[in-house]
């Protein structure tokens, strides 16, 4: 009988991020996790769920490799559902790799990317959505992202999808009733009623699909380019914000030398602030914007900060054109240099705020406003269920397409068995989200997005 190697051998990897840290945790999972660990450690037994101190020595030279704390999780009460031993070693580049290499010598093999979670999934410890959520949780940098991943993990999205599925099943059964029981004295449900139900379902699916933006923002952060003419104070604003928000995540050069991206977390939400120095407009005309990448940033923007300088003193043609062009993206008009007490021009903008970047005035208000606008515009209220994956969005769109076809067919007076085909397709598309009909390829793709040891 062919046996998959992914199950009966024992895998090991360092499960903490690479680099210098206080400790590094090695995870060892599989049928032989316990005997291998007992060979590596100088203890006679490992009791389940008990953190035990142990020494790891080289088996031949008997020289000490590291002092560790080992915890044994007996199957199935472990993350993977298999016998698992977690060994906390000293971090850094020498101790933990040496322990790991000893485990390999003793019969473990290096874990493939995502393999621990894959095993957990295969052992029925989590469903597909939950497995994806684990990947998100591991990569989550902000509280919002953790929350949404946490909700997925607790199966809330699965629940929502199942609820939708039930709705569809309800519609399908009404359709079938008229086909299979047309001889019975059953008053058929009118097409209008069916149509109303399908429209209701369309609404629910659209809402869930619409949460993708918000879900994505929670997961990846809101992308916020700062736009304005030269010397409007974009860089000062960026610095002022970063000054205000001490929780800087990264300071990375942008994709071009002209864009700087700074990430920070404000009240649990991740923002990615981009200084679009690349927008070197000439003669105040946005058409002249040359930097393609800066334009790309604008296209992907979730919120734009348009910085106005009261000193520029002309008709603000650039700003007005800009607002017309990007009317689909929320914009906060930031009137900078408020300390100069110059009058600000009138703009038909929903969100306006006067700040002084250099004087650090109203910066905290700006941050709150950014948060409010993003939350309101993307329906990110922190408690709703949101989808975060392109895969989910695609499935929901397929489902929507099927429902739209069903509505069209109803309008054209096709009989129920045709509409039933569309509803069945809509159900199948939903099943793709929860993994009901997901092919092994999709699964492998999902699992390959994990880092080794996660």
């Amino acid at each position: 009988m062919p046996m998959s190697h992914t199950h009966h051998d024992t895998i090991a990897a360092i499960s903490t991020p690479p680099g210098v840290g206080g400790i590094a945790v090695i995870r060892l999972s599989g049928d032989r996790a316990l005997p291998i660990a007992l060979k590596a450690l100088d203890v006679n037994e490992l009791r389940p769920r008990l953190a035990q101190f142990a020494r790891v020595a080289h088996p031949e030279s008997n020289t000490l490799i590291d002092n560790v704390v080992a915890t044994y999780f007996k199957a199935p009460a472990s993350y993977t559902g298999e016998d698992t031993v977690e060994i906390s070693c000293h971090g850094g580049y020498s101790a933990s790799p040496a322990v790991l290499s000893l485990l390999y010598d003793l019969g473990a093999r290096p874990a493939l990317p995502g393999e621990f979670t894959r095993r957990a999934f295969l052992n029925g410890k989590m469903d597909l959505l939950q497995a994806e959520a684990v990947a998100d949780l591991i990569h989550a940098v902000s509280g919002g992202a953790q929350k949404i991943a946490g909700r997925l993990l607790s199966g809330k999205l699965s629940g929502k999808v199942h609820q939708l599925r039930d709705e569809f099943t309800g519609i399908a059964s009404v359709l079938e009733l008229e086909l299979d029981f047309s001889e019975e004295a059953i008053t058929p449900v009118s097409h209008r009623e069916t149509e109303a139900k399908i429209r209701e379902a369309v609404k629910h699916i659209s809402e869930l699909a619409g949460s993708y933006g918000g879900g994505k923002i929670l997961r990846e952060g809101a992308l916020v380019p700062i736009v304005g003419r030269p010397n409007a104070g974009k860089s000062s604003l960026l610095n002022a914000v970063l000054e205000e928000e001490r929780a800087i995540i990264s300071h990375l050069p942008g994709t071009t030398r002209d864009t700087i991206e700074e990430s920070f977390v404000h009240k649990g939400f991740l923002f990615r602030l981009v200084d679009t120095a690349g927008l070197r407009e000439t003669e105040d005309h946005i058409e002249r914007i040359g930097a393609e990448r800066a334009l790309k940033t604008l296209k992907a923007a979730d919120l734009i900060l348009l910085v106005l300088d009261p000193l520029s003193g002309d008709d603000y043609r650039f700003e007005r054109e800009f607002l017309t062009r990007y009317k689909d993206i929320p914009v906060i008009l930031v009137h900078n240099k408020s300390d100069l007490n110059k009058p600000f021009p009138e703009f038909p903008a929903e969100h306006t705020l006067e700040v002084s970047a250099t004087g650090s005035r109203n910066i905290d208000t700006l941050l709150d406003m950014m948060l409010d606008v993003v939350k309101a515009h993307y329906h990110v209220d922190g408690s709703s269920i949101a989808i975060t994956k392109q895969r989910h969005l695609r499935a929901l769109r397929h489902s929507l397409e099927s429902l739209e076809r069903a509505l069209k067919a109803l309008g054209e007076h096709w009989s129920n068995e045709f509409i039933a085909v569309d509803i069945r397709e809509a159900i199948d598309a939903l099943d793709d989200i929860t993994g009901q009909t997901t092919s092994a390829d999709v699964l492998n793709n999902i699992f390959s997005h994990f880092c080794i040891g996660k």
Partner: protein, 610 residues
């Protein structure tokens, strides 16, 4: 006495008849064991054949070489194509039968068949050695030897009739039950379940006041079931519609405490789709009235069937309740309605060939597998015989996929679903319904029918011609353009293809004859019609083909027989238990078993990948 046969069929109902005929026609010495020769092919319940989805089954039986379609064409007294206002896929033929003539037709067919003996007797046991069936033991001590045995015992296995508080051991009303076989199979380790079904009263024609009922006739232009039937001009005898009243419901309600359904005397699960009248008034208490169909049991019958009034209430209640129905005030009862409980063998114990997994050479067909209905039984009887014969000949069984036939759906469902009520065919059970039409059974099953070998070559050649012409015409409809002033006299502003006009519903079935005369004079009407359906519904049909393709990826992944699920630690407990119980032959089949989770399927896929 010892008599030697290749195949022994136990039971002379609709499954047994098809099984015996098919086995004998395929060249095997066949015995049909029945309690009573005269009861062969008896319709024990409603006097009709076909109906939604069941009509599809009958058409498939016909194409594969069975007898049911021919029998009803010859003996039907009213024919109707149901759902005609809807799309083609859900049209389905139904006929009222002359019960006496139907049974006589089948008995004559059996008598006329070479290599087939009808043996009156009660099969008390099976001769099984080394997990292989060797023969059948009769109550008189005689033994029939056979290489394969097909059990089609219907409701006779430990049958128990309920009428109110009264319980009678019986197979059908006035007929003895069969006891030995289910006890023997139980002792061999087969699991046995209990189901319930029911039948309504029969009343005399002269006691019905037809002036107070609604008349229901068949189609004026009836279509036959069988592809072989020509010059079809059957009788068109009406049925009549009556309605229950408040008073009826009140009487029934007053006696619920005397109903074995509600007092717990009936343990077996009954069908939800065919509830007894007392079930209807309880479950649908908001309905002020229920339909009853009055149907003659044969041409000129004095005995009429009260369809919709199945009951196990005491005799006095049934009589009073029915007499409260307008038009039936003076009803005289010939037989009273009853419920019957019977043993069945939950069908996870059979393979898709219908052979039991535990005993080789032993096949189950019909109600013994938990199904209900003449048509479902007949389809299984036919396939069981076909596969028993093929087994003897060393050939692989014929197993139809879900996109090929309703028969395939039926058998696949039996092998992958728990039976919680008698299984009846519905069009909604066929996920590829648009492809499984009543009208294209011959084209769908042509190759399988040839493989089975029951149809004469001349018939297959005719089907082949239609299939070829259909393909040609589908292309021709796209090319052939109609211009203003066309021979069909269709008012057009500008020219358009036949195909476009069909999709726009400007051309329908009625125009096909004219189209044939004008453009395709050498082609068969059937071919024009088939191509018309494929053209008109092309968008949907293409989508269904895509869905089939997607589903077949899992259907094509076979699970080796005897696969040891205990070796896969990662299966869920419930999943493992269900896999061991149903032993699905493919991953696709496994995915349809309730309780086997998507994660279990992924686990299996990964294990079988290499």
């Amino acid at each position: 006495m010892e008599t030697h046969y290749d195949i022994i069929v136990v039971g002379g109902g609709h499954a047994g008849v098809e099984a015996a005929l098919a086995a004998a026609r395929l060249g095997k010495r066949t015995a049909l064991v029945t309690l009573e020769r005269a009861s062969i092919a008896r319709m024990s319940c409603n006097p009709s054949i076909g109906g939604l989805a069941k009509g599809h089954l009958v058409r498939e039986i016909d194409v594969l070489g069975g007898e049911m379609a021919k029998a009803i064409d010859a003996t039907g007294i009213q024919f109707k194509l149901l759902n005609r206002s809807k799309g083609r896929a859900v049209w389905s033929p139904r006929a009222q039968a002359d019960k006496r003539k139907y049974a006589a037709y089948m008995q004559a067919a059996l008598t006329a068949s070479p290599r087939l003996d009808i043996i009156e007797g009660d099969a008390r046991g099976l001769d099984i050695k080394k997990d292989t069936v060797r023969g059948v033991l009769l109550q008189d001590g005689s033994r029939l030897t056979g290489k394969a045995c097909i059990l089609t015992n219907g409701t006779f296995l430990r049958g128990k009739i309920h009428i109110g508080d009264v319980q009678i051991s019986a197979g059908r009303y006035g007929e003895l039950p069969s006891i030995g076989i289910s006890d023997q199979l139980r002792s061999l380790g087969f699991s046995v379940g209990r189901l319930k079904t029911g039948t309504p009263s029969r009343i005399t024609k002269r006691s019905i006041d037809f002036s107070r009922l609604e008349k229901q006739e068949g189609d004026p232009d009836p279509l036959p079931f069988s592809y072989a039937t020509t010059h079809f001009s059957p009788k068109n005898i009406p049925c009549w519609l009556a309605y229950t009243q408040n008073e009826t419901h009140r009487i029934l309600h007053s006696a619920l405490d005397r109903s074995p359904l509600y007092t717990g005397k009936i343990a077996g699960a009954g069908p939800r789709y065919c509830p007894s009248i007392e079930d209807k008034i309880v479950r649908f208490s908001e309905k002020p009235s229920h339909q009853l169909f009055l149907e003659p049991e044969w041409e000129g019958a004095s005995q009429w069937y009260v369809n919709g009034f199945s009951s196990s209430l005491p005799v006095d209640i049934q009589i009073r309740a029915l007499r409260s129905v307008p038009g039936l005030e003076r009803a005289e009862f010939i037989k009273i309605g009853y419920a019957i409980e019977y043993d069945f063998f939950p069908s996870h114990q059979i393979r898709r060939s219908l052979e039991t997994r535990a005993v080789s050479g032993l096949y189950f067909a019909g109600q013994i597998n938990g199904t209900s209905g003449y048509e479902e039984a007949a389809a299984q009887g036919l396939m069981a015989a076909v596969n028993a014969v093929r087994n003897l000949d060393g050939k692989n069984p014929v197993v139809m996929e879900r996109h090929e036939s309703y028969t395939g759906v039926l058998i696949d469902d039996l092998c992958s679903k728990e039976t919680s009520e008698p299984y009846r065919m519905f069009t909604s059970l066929a996920e590829f319904r648009l492809l499984l039409r009543w009208d294209n059974a011959h084209l769908r099953l042509l190759d399988i029918s040839r493989e089975i070998g029951l149809q004469p070559e001349a018939v297959l050649t005719r089907f082949e011609k239609v299939r070829r012409e259909t393909r040609e015409l589908v292309r021709a409809y796209e090319k052939q353009r109609l211009r203003p002033g066309n021979p069909l006299k269709l008012p057009l502003d500008r020219s358009a293809s036949l195909a476009l006009l069909m999709r726009q519903q400007k051309i329908d079935e009625k125009d096909l004859r004219k189209i044939r005369l004008a453009y395709f004079p050498g082609h068969d009407d059937d071919s024009l019609d088939q191509a018309f359906v494929l053209t008109k519904y092309s968008g949907y049909i293409e989508r269904q083909h895509k869905q089939v393709k997607k589903a077949r990826r899992l259907e094509a992944k076979r699970i080796p027989p005897g696969f040891n699920y205990d070796r896969i630690a990662s299966l869920s407990n419930e999943g493992r238990e269900k896999l061991k119980k149903f032993r699905p032959e493919t991953i696709g089949q496994a995915s349809r078993v309730r309780g086997i989770s998507p994660a279990d399927i992924q686990v299996l896929l990964i294990f079988l990948e290499k």
